[in-house]
Amino acid sequence: MHFLKLILRNTLRHKLRTSLTVLGLVVAILAFGLLRTVVDAWYSGAEGASSTRLVTRNAISLVFPLPINYQERIRRIHGVTAITHASWFGGVYIAPRNFFPQFAVDAKTYFHLYPEYFIPPAEMKAFLTDRKGCVIGRKLANTHGFKIGDTIPLRGTIYPGAWSFTVRAIYDGDAGTDTSQFFFHWNYLNETMKKVVARRTDWIGVYVIGISDPDRAAEISTEVDAMFKNSLAETLTETEKAFQLGFVSMTEAIVVAIRIVSFLVIFIILAVMANTMAMTARERIGEYATLKALGFGPRFLAGLIYGESLAIALTGAGIGILLTFPVADEFSKQVGTLFPVFGVSLETVYMQAAAAIAVGITAAALPAFRAARVPIVDGLRSIG
């Protein structure tokens, strides 16, 4: 009881110093949590990928399309349960800063392969019967205030012209589902292109293939790619996760930089905390010597210093972790659909707590060692 009381009272002895150190920890743990969440958001696409979906794209590059007639040939491969396609549209809604991903999809088949998108049947029916209809995610709807029946104008970039779509359905998803996307009928895109640039008709961006056995993913991928070997548009088939990680690898340097900064923040607060604990222990060396003279052992003294350091670190961490959630929410709102899935994971919270404990223990190590080793006579000499 006295032990905890001593720790608590020692912690509150220099209120300003303790408050400033706790404040530093709050900022550091908050920044660490936020940066880790950004890194998680970067990988969210890959994390949400299904093991029963393969993606086939043009072997040269994703920017080159594939002919629509590959669809039936792929469907016939043993183990393929479904096939659909999607094409990146890349339109601008009012201004480029309002970016959100838009895909022209095969409306009848696409959503069967993505059961994680929850669409009310009535809305789905309305979408299927409206050639100019679109399906949008809940996050996108909330960001721009779109409602069922609203018209969304897009300025085409890859597919030139002024395009207009009517919101017919809004899909929801669980926490890891990207609900910032926009889907419309590929048929509408294709028919329009027939009139404008005929040579660009009957091409799609990627095929999404449903398979029954994830263990056969590599085998089926090889079979698909072999089928179109030496053709006009050779293919590259990979799992959906590998496909998503391909996007992440394009920006790997940024992710690495964010990771480094997140650990630097912790290192800086460790230095601040170590300085606080060193000052604290130096000031109390006479008290430690007195306790030793009374018969308290080095472990008791080390316990006092470790206890105080951990109390400060965990207080800062507790406040920092609690603040991470509202700050992450606000951050998510500010960046809009740039990070489709942006949420503080339990793993991030554990890492924040672990970082705080590591800071608390490391910062106390040297002062505790010194206090435990100081000769009583030398320590007592510092009083007076």
């Binding site: 006295h2 009381k5 001593l6 009272r9 020692n10 002895r13 006479g286 008290e287 007195t290 306790l291 030793k292 003279a293 009374l294 018969g295 308290f296 052992g297 000769p375 009583i376 006579v377 007592l380 009083i383 007076g384």
Partner: protein, 231 residues
């Protein structure tokens, strides 16, 4: 004059030196003397004479270079740091010049501190602390922090802390050095009472001849040696 027959402290050929800047400075040289149980002695001498070093050695917070130092029949010079800590907790009560109370603990908690190293229950500790504080006349200051007490009151708390475990010896290093005369008299009277009524063996270092008169005997140290001509 009291009759002291049993030596509780036996010091033989005790030598202590310090290394400072590559130089070895001899502090105590071949000190030998006994302190009997129930005795109250004052160690006097000029600054640097080695009196505080001798007190530290007797209290087991420093170790001699050579010689033997038996307290209550045990040679403490041979004990390990851990054993010495246990030995101090059970056998020595400390009274320091600057009181050395824990500023974040109340008078009650400061006195209770050494009892945390014993097997006493909470109720037993409370009973003892209340008794000790009443003996030093501080029953109305139980919940006060050191910063809320005068120097004399703080030293009384320190005295209560020193005898709360019923130690074999009480060591006091300039216990009145930071006090005004009235408070000093108060503290000296208290030490005399502890010696007389509780039979405590007290070894006190002091510069003050007036304070030294409270003791039964005075030992003078001069340049690390006992001044046998001035006992």
């Amino acid at each position: 004059m009291e009759d002291f027959t049993e030596p509780i402290v036996q010091i033989r050929q005790l030598t202590k030196s310090y290394r400072r800047g590559g130089q070895i400075i001899s502090v105590l040289t071949n000190i030998s003397f006994d302190i009997n149980s129930g005795e109250f002695i004052a160690l006097m001498g000029p600054s640097g004479s080695g009196k505080s070093t001798l007190l530290n050695l007797i209290a087991g917070i420093d170790k001699p270079d050579s010689g033997s130092l038996k307290v209550n029949g045990r040679d403490i010079a041979t004990l390990s740091e851990a054993d010495l800590a246990d030995w101090r907790a059970a056998n020595v009560g400390f009274i320091f010049q600057f009181y050395n109370l824990m500023p974040v603990l109340t008078a009650f908690e400061n006195v209770e501190l050494p009892l945390l190293l014993t097997r006493l229950s909470r109720d037993q500790r409370q009973e003892r602390v209340e008794l000790a504080l009443s003996m030093v006349g501080l029953t109305d200051r139980v919940e006060h922090y050191p910063s809320e007490l005068s120097g004399g009151q703080q030293q009384r708390v320190a005295i209560a802390r020193a005898f709360i475990t019923d130690p074999v010896i009480l060591v006091a290093d300039e216990p009145t050095g930071d006090l005004d005369r009235a408070s000093a008299d108060d503290i000296l009277a208290m030490l005399q009472r502890l010696n007389r009524e509780m039979g405590k063996t007290i070894i006190m270092v002091t510069h003050d001849p007036y304070a030294a008169k409270s003791a039964h005997s005075i030992r003078h140290l001069e340049k690390g040696e006992l001044d046998v001509t001035n006992q």
